[in-house]
C-alpha cells in the first residue's frame, strides 16, 4: 500500500487535537510512502441563521490549526504527509446523523478514502450529541471507520463542573422564579431558601438542561417570537379539535388512520422537540417516533394529514427559532419530504438496531436475562 488516505471530520471539541494526533499516528503505522490526511469540517445547515459568515471564518481557522497540528505530528518521519482540507455541507442540508453519514460516504467514495477517524467528542454545530447515532448510520454505509481511542478524561471533568455560565445563570433564574411563584416573593425566608435551592439546581443540572447554551443575542428574540407562536398554536389546536370532535361523535366514525413520515427541516434538540410536541398537540396527528429529523407521524383523518404536509407548524417553529426569513421555505409536500407508509411498517422495519421487529407481543430482546437466550435456543 503506497498511499494511505484518511478522512478526519473535525469539530470544535475538547478532543479534536488528540484525534488529529491519533489519526496521524495510526496513518503512519502501516508505513505507507505517502499519507494524505483529508481534514474536513461538516457545517450544519443554518444558511438562514444570522452569523453564518462567522462560523465559516471559525471553520477556516479550525482547519488551519488542524493542518499545523498534522505537520507538527509528522515531523521527523520519512513518510510524505500531505493535508487536504474541505468544508462539507455548504450545498447540502445537513441536519441529522444520517445526512452527515451520507456526506462522509460521498466524500470518501470521491477521494478513495481508506479509513475514517472519528473524534469521540465529535459534535458539529451546536446541536445535541451526535456520536452514537452517527456511528449507527456510518455502520450502515460501506465506509470503514474507527473511533479514536482517547482518554476521555475531558468528558468526566465536564460533568462535574459548571458547563457554561450562561446555562448556569439561566437555569438559576428559571428555578428561582419558579420557587418564588410557588412561594411568596416578598417573604425573606422564601427568598433565602429559593436562592439556595436555585443555586443547587443550577449547579447540579446546568450541563444537562440546555442542549445549546442560551445567549443574550438570540434567546430574548426567541422568547418573544414564542409568545407570538402560542396564540397561533392555540388557534390550530382549537380548529383541529373541532374537526376531530365531529369525526369522533359521528356514529359512522369516518377515520382513516395512516402512518406517515416527515423529514423536518429543523435542528435537533429544542426545535425538534417543539415541532414534535406541536404536531402531537394538534389533534389528528401524533408523533410516534422521532429518529433524528425523520418524524414518524400517525394521522387519524385526511384533513389532518394534509395540514401536516402543508407544514404550517414547521414554518412556525422555524420562525420561533430563526426568525422570519427562515420561515419562508417550501412545504414538506413540495420538497418531497413526505411519505405515506404502508401498513406493516411498525413491525417490519421499525428500528434496525433495537430489533423491535418481533410481531408477537414479546418485548424486544434485552441482553439482561437468560430467559430470552433460552427462548432463542428453542427456536433454533
Amino acid at each position: 500500500m503506497a498511499t494511505e488516505r484518511l478522512l478526519v471530520p473535525l469539530s470544535e471539541s475538547p478532543t479534536v487535537r488528540q484525534t488529529v494526533a491519533y489519526a496521524v499516528q495510526s496513518g503512519l503505522e502501516p508505513k505507507p510512502e505517502t499519507l494524505v490526511c483529508h481534514l474536513v469540517v461538516a457545517l450544519p445547515y443554518e444558511a438562514d441563521v444570522p452569523g453564518e459568515r462567522e462560523s465559516l471564518e471559525e471553520t477556516k481557522r479550525l482547519l488551519e490549526r488542524a493542518v499545523s497540528w498534522v505537520n507538527e505530528d509528522a515531523t521527523g518521519v520519512d513518510t510524505d504527509v500531505t493535508c487536504e482540507t474541505a468544508v462539507l455541507g455548504k450545498d447540502a442540508y445537513l441536519f441529522g446523523p444520517k445526512d452527515y453519514a451520507e456526506t462522509f460516504e460521498a466524500y470518501a467514495a470521491e477521494h478513495d478514502i481508506d479509513r475514517l477517524i472519528l473524534d469521540p467528542e465529535y459534535n458539529p454545530g451546536a446541536s445535541a450529541p451526535l456520536l452514537q447515532p452517527l456511528e449507527r448510520e456510518l455502520a450502515r454505509t460501506d465506509v470503514s471507520f474507527v473511533e479514536a481511542p482517547l482518554e476521555r478524561s475531558v468528558t468526566h471533568e465536564r460533568f462535574t463542573g459548571v458547563a457554561s455560565w450562561s446555562r448556569f445563570l439561566s437555569l438559576f433564574v428559571v428555578s428561582f422564579g419558579f420557587y418564588l411563584i410557588l412561594g411568596d416573593p416578598l417573604y425573606w425566608f422564601d427568598l433565602v431558601t429559593g436562592t439556595a435551592v436555585g443555586l443547587i439546581v443550577a449547579f447540579t443540572l446546568s450541563h444537562v438542561t440546555f442542549s445549546t447554551a442560551p445567549t443574550l443575542r438570540e434567546t430574548p428574540g426567541r422568547l418573544l417570537r414564542f409568545t407570538l407562536y402560542v396564540p397561533y398554536l392555540l388557534g390550530e389546536i382549537i380548529r383541529a379539535n373541532l374537526q376531530i370532535s365531529l369525526v369522533i361523535l359521528r356514529p359512522s366514525m369516518p377515520i382513516n388512520p395512516t402512518v406517515t413520515t416527515l423529514r423536518a427541516r429543523v435542528r435537533s434538540g429544542l426545535p425538534l422537540l417543539g415541532l414534535a410536541n406541536s404536531i402531537t398537540l394538534t389533534p389528528g396527528t401524533l408523533t410516534v417516533r422521532a429518529n433524528d429529523q425523520r418524524l414518524v407521524v400517525h394521522t387519524l383523518i385526511d384533513d389532518a394529514r394534509e395540514d401536516l404536509f402543508e407544514g404550517g407548524l414547521e414554518r412556525a417553529i422555524r420562525f420561533v427559532f430563526h426568525g422570519r426569513r427562515a420561515a419562508a421555505i417550501p412545504t414538506p409536500k413540495e420538497r418531497g419530504d413526505t411519505e405515506i407508509l404502508a401498513p406493516g411498517y411498525i413491525s417490519g422495519s421499525s428500528q434496525p438496531s433495537a430489533g423491535a421487529g418481533s410481531s408477537n407481543s414479546d418485548p424486544p430482546e434485552t441482553t439482561t436475562d437468560g430467559a430470552d437466550a433460552s427462548d432463542g435456543g428453542d427456536e433454533a
Binding site: N241, I255, V259, V288, D302, G344, A356
Partner: protein
Amino acid sequence: MIDTLYVGAIVVLLALGVFFTFVSAMGVLRLPDVYARAHTASQTDTLGAGLALAAVALALGWQQASVYTVLLLFFVFITNPTAAHAIARSAAEMGIEPWSGADGDPSSDGGAVPDGGEPIDERSSEPGHERETTEGSHGGDPR
C-alpha cells in the same frame, strides 16, 4: 353587565371543557387501536383540561392561586403530548400494528402501495364500510 359577562365567560369555558373531555372519553372508548386512542387521549383531553382550568383561573381572579392554575395549565400542555408520544412510541417498539381501515387486516389493505394516494381514494369511495369494520375488527365498541 360586567358581572353577567364574567359569569357567562366562566360558564362557556367550563361547558367547552366538559364537552371536549366528553369527546376525549368517547374517543378513548370508541377508537379502534392504541394509536388512534392516543390522539384524543392526549389532545382533545388537553384542550378540555385547558379550558376547564382557564375557567378556574378566571373565577379565582387576580390572586396567587390563579397563578398556580396558569402554571398548571402550562404544565398540562407540555406534559400531555410528551406522555402520549412516550406511550405511542412504546407501543411501536413493542411491535403493535396500527389499525388501518378495511377488514382490520393490515396486509390486505390497499394502503400497501408505499407511495401515492391510493389508500385515500379507496377509503372515501365508500363511507359505509367503515362502520362494519369498526364493529368487526376489535369488538371493543362499548356503545
